[in-house]
Structure formats: C-alpha cells, structure tokens
Symmetry: C2
Subunit: 361 residues, 2 copies
C-alpha cells in the first residue's frame, strides 16, 4: 500500500455527501496554481464551480484539455469545473467569489467586478501587501466594495501538495459566520481542513509578513547559526509579527495558529523559496542587485520590508529584525547585523504580552 | 573572516563587565552536556561557579584536565570553574543552585540537598516528567523544599551549539523577580540570551511535552506528509500543548515564546533525535519493541505520552495527537491514525482561545 493510496483512502472514507447540502455556487478568480487547486477542491465538494481566467485562449485551452499547463501540468482537473474568461458570467448570480489574483492586480479586478456584485461574498486568497498603499487585500475589498461580506483565506498551503492529495489545513477569517461556513462548505474536506477565525487582520498579516522572515532565515543559513539560532529567529519573528499586528487590533493568539506559526514554519523550512534564496545571497555578502540578478526575479519579501518598516515607524512598533534587514539591504550594513539585532535585545520578556519589557544590557 | 570569528567578535563587543556587579555564587548540579555548558557560561560571566558531579573520579579528572570527556570531549572549560563531588561544599553558602540532573534522579538529589539549603534559590534545568508521579521538576522542588525560591530554565538549547559559541536563547521562569534577575546575571551573555517569564508551569510544560510531538513528526516523515502537513502538525501540536497547559493555569501566550514554539521547532527539525527516530520507525509499521531495539535505547517521549494521556483524561482535555500516538504504540492501531487524528477535527476554531469550537463533519 503506497502512502498516497492511504491518504486517498482517508478522503474516500470522509467524502462529503453533497446531496445533504444545498448546492453552493462558487467562483474562483485567477488561474494560478493555488486558485486552480481551490477550484478543483470546490468542484469535488459538489459545488457548482467556475474558474475565471483573464486570457481567453488559456481559459478555452484548460476548459478543453482539463489541464492547467502553465501551473499544474501533471494534474487533470475535475470534469464538472467550468473555466471561462467571461467575467460577467463568472461573477453574477454566484454565492461566493474567491479572489486568487496577485497583489499588484488585485484592486483592478475588484474594481471590475464591483458593478456585478449584489449578494455575493468576496474572499481573498492572496497573500501580500499592495505596493505603495500598504493595503492588505481585505482592505482593498472593503474600500472598493464597502457593503459586501468578505473574508480572507491564509495558511501553509503549497498548491502542488494540495492538488496531489497530500494533507493540509488553512484558515478562513471573517467577521461573518455565514461567510466562514460557506467557505468551509466549499473547500473543507478530508485532506484539506478549513479552520475558522474572526481575526481578519491577524490572519492576513501572518501571510504577508512571513516573507520578511524567510529572508532573515536565508541570511541566518548563510551564517550557519545552528538549530538554537534558527529557533530563536523564528520565535523573535513571531513576537515581532504579533506585536505589529496587535498594535493594529489583531489578536496575538492568532499567531499560534496555522496562518501564523504554521505558515511561518513552512516558509522558513523552504530553502527553495525566492525569499529564502535572496536572504542567503545577502548573507554571503552580495548586494540586493546581485542577489536578484542571480535569482532571475525579485522576491515579495523585499517590498514587504520597505512597507512594514515604514508602517512600523508610523505606529511606533519595535521591529528589530525588519529594521536590521532594511539596513543590510538598503544601507549596506554588514549582514551580521541580523544576528546582532536578535542578540542585543536581551533581558526583555520572552513573549511580549506575558511580562512587560525590562530594558537592560 | 570565518563565521565563528564573527560570533566571537559579537561576544567580545558585548562582554559583561564583571566588576560592575557583586559576584554571584553559582552552583550547577550535574555534569551532563547542558549542565557543563551552563557552568562554563556562568564562569565566563564572572560568577564564582562550582559544578558538582556525583562520581568522585570523574570530578577529579575534569577538574584536572579541564575537559568533560564523556559529554563535550572537544571543549576546554574555563580555568576558574571548580568541579567537585563534595555536595555539601557545592551547595552550602551559595546564591543559586542550578539543577541539571535527569528527571529520574532529580528528586533524590533535591532530597539530599534539603538540609544544606538556607537562602539559596533552586532552579531546574531539567526537561521532563517524573515517572509515575506526573511531577514536573518545579513541583518536586516545591514538594521537597517548600520555602525555597525556585525557577525553571527551558528553551531550544542544544548544548553542543552553545558551548561552541553559536547564538541561542532561553527562558527563565519564576514567580520571583529576584530569581529571574539572578539567573540572567549568571547566564545571560552576548551569545546566550536569557528571557524572563513568570509562567513557570507553561514554560516547563513546553519543554516536557515537545517530546511527544517529535515522535509524531517522525511518524509523519515516514508517511511523507509534505510541508503543508508538517506545518499543520506543528500547529495542532502547539494547540494541544497550550490547551493542556491552560487547563492547569498556564498562559497560552507562553507557547508563542522560546520555551513553546521555539523548542518545538528545534525538536521537530532534529531528525536525529531519539524521539523523532522512534516515531519514524513506528511510521514504517514497526512495533515499539522493534523501534526501541533499533535505536538501542528508549525515547523520553514514550513515557511522556503515557503520562500526559492519563492526566489529560483526568482533566478532560482534548488531545487527539497524544491519544492517536498512544493507540498506535500500545493498541496496534495503524500509524495512519495520526493523520486521521489531525484531519477529523475540522471546522474547529484554528486557535483554541480565539473562537469557540464548532463541532461539525
């Protein structure tokens, strides 16, 4: 019995009985690997599911071949999943709209669907921060669709593993219980567990900020800091993230969950990720330009550092790791500053919210 | 410039000026690798430091050669560190006693020093649970030395890395601020950061319970669950640990710190640890006897599972991972039950204390 068979067996044993529930009409905007994985799950869960892809030729090709050649070339999609490039058709008369559009194009797509939205809930599947505005995806939804029930989905979710039927979990955060339940109905299954939270901003911050610490983890690897040092880095990163989030009204306990420590753990254990690799190059003493040239593309975390540092200064939040990274990348400080930034803040309380800080040595 | 040199340079830049502080008299009981590493740090910090080792010949040998052949054969100890097998001399007229004695011998040593204790603080450096009694080390101290100020030290602290001068952090937990400050004075340095907490039980539980989840992580590795699954496991483990701890009065936020998620992260990323290896063998379908025979010794986590399961039943705490491990190890359930235990509890709130549970499917 192969391992994959075993997981599949779990899925069979736990199969959702679609007949027990009213059929949900689910649309996924965006045909990247994660959007496609979610569209396929929703279809399997017995939902009437549409995936919208901007490019007409690509949509037609996937609709016919049942294969997303660019992102998931080895995987055949469920027969019932409908793929279209007709936005109006995809958005009107639906129950929930899951938006899996990259952060730089997120607002323009939300603006386009605004006239088509009546009672649909809109849920972001996108991690990241809008360039320049420092808007999170839920804020874009609120700004562009003020009356619409919304939510965000975030967690340690490598799409390739999900579509291969390996186990995973995620978090749906919304102030609306109806939205949480609808997303669970659409996506929750034996091998993809959807947990609920009402801390929208906390969940969203986890997904966006982790990219910063993946860079730091790559840099630490270049310095061979060892397991003790890696653990300290991930813990201080969690403290820094939650401090930043709490200042904005999030619940620190959210960071104990999948969208916080879970996503951070996965990211920091992925040495092949772009953020980690940029950090590693920087740790070897290369400049940002050299690191990015080597990688052949930029890393999301670089932009996140710039934005979070700016916002943290405004809010007066203490973020030594982010600041040290900024100084190394943009002010030519030695990479060892990262280690120093962890080391010099001793005698503080271990967890921010348990004991007040004691500034010493 | 080698990496090691760099860390050493940090240490030099941040060197504690011993002359500024009254000299602390510190004793470490036990000459294992962690006790030795702490004794060496305390000596470096300018404290008058004694390390007590039960065996007279070994004590003499280390005192003369300055090398702990059995545990840290490659490392020369500080000249000022005094090693003795005279317990009375080691314990009387001291400020703090750090106890680094294995859990099965911890109580007998505490009983022996009881008549020698006047004003000394007693701090446990030992992770684990006393067999049969389900006593943590701090409880043993409280039972045997009711009037004595006490604390526990716990964190992701591989002794070998610490003694080699690689960076690390730990947590001193005590209800007494004096104890916290004294331990920081003894051990805190540029490369070993000692953070403070007043959540003694939470800190101690993190160090003891992580062994359970190292077994689960090894088992998951045998099933090749992937990064999403590993992240879910570590997150659900944190939830389970904190649920158990909170029921006993601990602060859930402690688990965001070094002694919680930090230690769990280090443990779950150590595929060479005994717990992980036993779990891996069990995941391949071997029996506990076969797994232990292969390893050549038992794993602490096995005993911890038995005790925590028993205690959780008494306290009515929901611990699906621990229970599933018990069933696999002692009731011949298929190892896939671990995966099922993660998977079947969906629709619950992501983090226990944020949203109430919603039992569904």
């Amino acid at each position: 019995m192969s391992q994959t068979t075993s997981f599949t067996e779990i899925a069979e044993q736990n199969k959702v009985n679609a007949a027990d529930r009213p059929q949900l009409r689910v649309t996924i905007l965006g045909g990247g690997s994660f959007g496609t994985a979610m569209a396929n799950l929703s279809t399997r869960n017995g939902c009437n599911t549409i995936m919208w892809i901007r490019d007409q030729a690509t949509a037609k090709q996937i609709q016919t071949s049942r294969i997303n050649e660019r992102y998931l070339p080895d995987f055949k999609l469920e027969d019932q999943l409908l793929i279209t490039s007709d936005l109006d058709f995809a958005v009107k008369d639906r129950d929930i709209i899951l938006v899996a559009i990259p952060s730089h194009a997120f607002r323009s797509v939300i603006q386009k669907i605004a006239p088509m939205i009546s009672g649909q809930a809109v849920i972001s599947l996108t991690k990241g921060i809008e360039k320049d505005s420092f808007c999170f995806m839920s804020e874009i939804i609120r700004e562009e669709l003020p009356e619409v029930p919304y939510g965000v989905l975030s967690g340690p979710n490598l799409a390739k593993e999900i579509i291969e039927g390996m186990p995973a979990g995620t978090v749906i955060a919304s102030h609306s219980e109806q939205v949480r339940l609808a997303v669970q109905q659409a996506l929750h299954s034996a091998l993809f567990r959807v947990f609920a939270s009402d801390d929208v901003h906390g969940v969203e911050l986890g997904g966006a900020l982790k990219n910063i610490y993946a860079i730091a983890m790559g840099m630490a690897a270049a310095f061979n800091v060892g397991e003790n040092g890696r653990s300290m880095l991930i813990t201080r990163a969690l403290a820094e993230m939650s401090r930043f989030a709490v200042k904005q009204g999030a619940n620190p306990l959210t960071f104990l969950g999948l969208s916080g420590v879970g996503d951070l753990f996965a990211t920091c254990n992925s040495p092949l990720s772009r953020n980690y690799r940029v950090g590693y190059s920087l740790g070897l003493g290369k400049t940002l330009d050299e690191a990015v040239a080597e990688l052949g593309q930029t890393a999301e975390g670089i932009n996140t550092i710039l934005q979070v540092r700016h916002k943290a200064a405004q809010l007066d939040v203490y973020m030594p790791i982010t600041n040290a990274l900024y100084e190394v990348i943009f002010e030519h400080a030695p990479p060892l500053n990262i280690a120093l930034s962890l080391m010099k803040n001793g005698h503080r309380s271990d967890v921010e919210f348990v004991l007040p800080h004691q500034e010493m040595s």
